[in-house]
């Protein structure tokens, strides 16, 4: 099991990160001078409405999108401009689960092919690879027979998302970024997906960045919450601080938009 003791050095950090997109007649700033740190074994939720810059921040952290300015460090090392083998090595440690469980799959290949693909660099084959697939699918409540020989369209949305989590786990990551990973699932599957991620944090000590527009979900299992609006971080703190003593009007509005939050808060207080 991973040592989840926080030594104080962040596993992953973004420092003064800005992202601008060229648009007709100028620039659009999607993320504006954002600094954020992820500590080992913690769940950090980034909350905000659509267009607040949270997914852009995640894509920059994943190095799927270049930063306009600022620095991204992983285990104290600057990874802002790494390429080639170094970048592939970074991607082994920092994995992601995306919003659309269907679009995340290459529809032309089976689930087994998708799962095995990440293990090519490891030269894992045969029984060892099959055992790893079984273990990782087991984590998310699936059996190889349920998925390995099937194509993505033959699985339900919840199964597809769980396979995506299993795929990320096979890479043996230290950080998992879940970008709106539950927003396209129906309510019952959403809770089970959240529970899976919570189990991964508890059992494997995985650091999780949970990006969501639903502050209720963020409160469900995050240790810390960052609230973003128009590319800026408007509030940050422990989950209790953000829920019980919100300072920014935007955070208060997000909290008031959660229909049954009062009941959840009461349970949490108790």
């Amino acid at each position: 099991m991973r040592d989840s003791t926080d030594s104080g050095v962040p596993v992953l950090a973004a420092s003064h990160v800005t992202k601008q997109f060229r648009v007709a007649g100028g620039h659009l700033t999607a993320v504006d001078d954002v600094s954020v740190e992820f500590h080992a074994g913690k769940v950090l939720a980034v909350v905000g409405e659509s267009g607040s810059g949270k997914s852009t921040l995640a894509r920059m952290l994943l190095r799927l999108m270049p930063v306009t300015s600022g620095t991204i460090t992983y285990q104290g090392k600057d990874v802002t401009h790494i390429r080639g083998g170094e970048l592939r090595s970074y991607w082994r440690d920092v994995q992601a689960v995306f919003q659309d469980p269907f679009a995340s799959f290459n529809q032309f290949f089976t689930i087994g092919h998708t799962l095995r693909r990440g293990m090519r660099a490891e030269k894992l084959e045969g029984d060892t690879l099959d055992a790893l697939i079984e273990t990782c699918l087991g984590y998310v409540g699936l059996k190889p027979g349920d998925a390995v020989h099937k194509y993505p369209h033959q699985l339900s949305g919840g199964q597809r998302q769980r396979v995506m989590i299993a795929r990320a786990l096979m890479m043996n990551p230290k950080v998992l970024l879940a970008d709106e990973a539950t927003s396209m699932l129906d309510a019952s599957l959403r809770v089970s997906a959240l529970n899976v991620m919570q189990d991964l944090r508890d059992n494997l000590g995985l650091t999780v960045l949970f990006i969501t527009h639903d502050i209720g979900q963020a409160c469900y299992f995050a240790d810390e919450v960052v609230v973003m609006e128009h590319g800026l971080i408007v509030e940050r703190g422990t989950t209790d601080e953000v829920i019980f003593t919100p300072k920014h009007d935007y955070t208060k509005r997000l909290l008031s938009d959660v229909p049954d939050l009062k009941g959840s808060l009461k349970v949490r207080k108790d």
Partner: protein
């Protein structure tokens, strides 16, 4: 590093997150080819192409006359022995037509495939990689597009006729010329499609799985463009055959080789229209039209195959399904009314 296998909690211990529901046995699986939903247009176009291919490749094996065998005089009219008559050299027109069709098809296949390969390679790399490489490749593409292709074709064809390399003098040389001048439209269209696919989430997942750029292009981008590439290839075949015919008719085709365009060239040069020898120019014109029509028809029917929204018969099937539902509802209403009457 985390050792996943040592800390695994098996599905059996934890139980599945979602209760499993027993699945009813599904309907008998359809063969893979049935899922392609070939429509009537597809069968018609494939039938026409097959007929033309038989004429071009099997016909000469069965026909008694060779295309370079003098069997009569200048423009002998059609007769039971020579059903399409003879041409200006006294050759049997049907024998020449079969050889010409074969050469035109080979030229189309070579040139169309070459143009598609170049266009797809440039388009996919530009669309996926983006940045300065995309700017450079699309700049080259736009320059090639801006130069009138027919002028380039004429100039290169003329220079090929005086070359010492026999390989380039024939139909293959012309096919190479057509292939390397007709890729830009394919490149532009494929670039647009590839840049759209490049932004999809499965590409990000492939990167996170450690896939290299080459692997992503082959396994994650190209399969999504396959239907588009097949359609572009079919169009390139038709364009290449027409381009070869145009050049040959102008007298710039490969010397000493039969082709549909060369048949028309000789018919024009020897006044076939003026003397009323319609059998000298009508057969190659009809075959050329049929080839182009069949390929364009095939392209439009492929659009139906790959795009479910364009499939014919879908409206009819929906209407049938609605009629079945209405009939079932009517029967149910009758049953309910019957029961109410019995109760009353």
């Amino acid at each position: 590093m985390t050792n996943i296998s040592s800390s695994a909690v098996s599905a059996e211990q934890e139980g599945p997150l979602v209760p499993e529901t027993p699945q009813a046995p599904g309907p008998k699986a359809r063969p893979a080819w049935r899922s392609l939903n070939f429509g009537p247009r597809m069968w018609v176009s494939l039938g026409m192409i097959l007929a033309i291919a038989v004429l071009a490749f099997i016909g000469p094996l069965l026909y008694p006359y060779a295309p370079d065998q003098k069997v009569g005089g200048l423009y002998d009219a059609p007769s039971p022995e020579h059903i399409l008559g003879t041409d200006n050299f006294g050759y049997d027109v049907l024998a020449v037509l079969m050889a010409s069709t074969r050469n035109s098809l080979i030229n189309g296949l070579l040139a169309g495939t070459l143009a598609t390969l170049i266009g797809v390679l440039i388009g996919v790399v530009a669309g996926y990689i983006g940045g300065w490489l995309e700017e450079a490749l699309m700049g080259i593409t736009n320059i090639v597009l801006a130069i009138p292709a027919i002028v380039i074709l004429i100039l290169i064809s003329m220079s090929l006729q005086s070359t010492d390399i026999p390989f380039l003098k024939g139909i293959v040389g012309l096919a190479l010329v057509i292939g390397i001048t007709s890729w830009p439209w394919t490149a532009r269209a494929v670039r647009a499609q590839a840049s759209s696919v490049a932004t999809r989430e499965h590409i990000d997942v492939a990167k996170l799985s450690g896939a290299r750029t080459g692997g992503i292009l082959v396994f994650d981008v190209l399969p999504y463009l396959a239907s588009y590439i097949v359609m572009a290839w079919v169009l390139q075949l038709a364009s290449a055959i027409l381009a070869e015919s145009t050049l040959s008719m102008l007298g710039l085709g490969p010397s000493g080789t039969n082709s549909l365009g060369m048949q028309l060239h000789w018919a024009l040069a020897f006044q076939a229209v003026a003397v009323g020898a319609y059998w000298a120019f009508l057969p190659p014109t009809i075959v050329l039209t049929l080839i182009s029509f069949a390929l364009l028809y095939l392209q439009s029917s492929l659009d139906e195959v790959f795009n479910p929204r364009l499939r014919r018969g879908k409206k009819k099937n929906l209407a049938r399904a609605a009629a079945r539902r209405a009939e079932a509802a009517r029967k149910l209403a009758e049953q309910i009314e019957g029961r109410q009457e019995v109760t009353a």
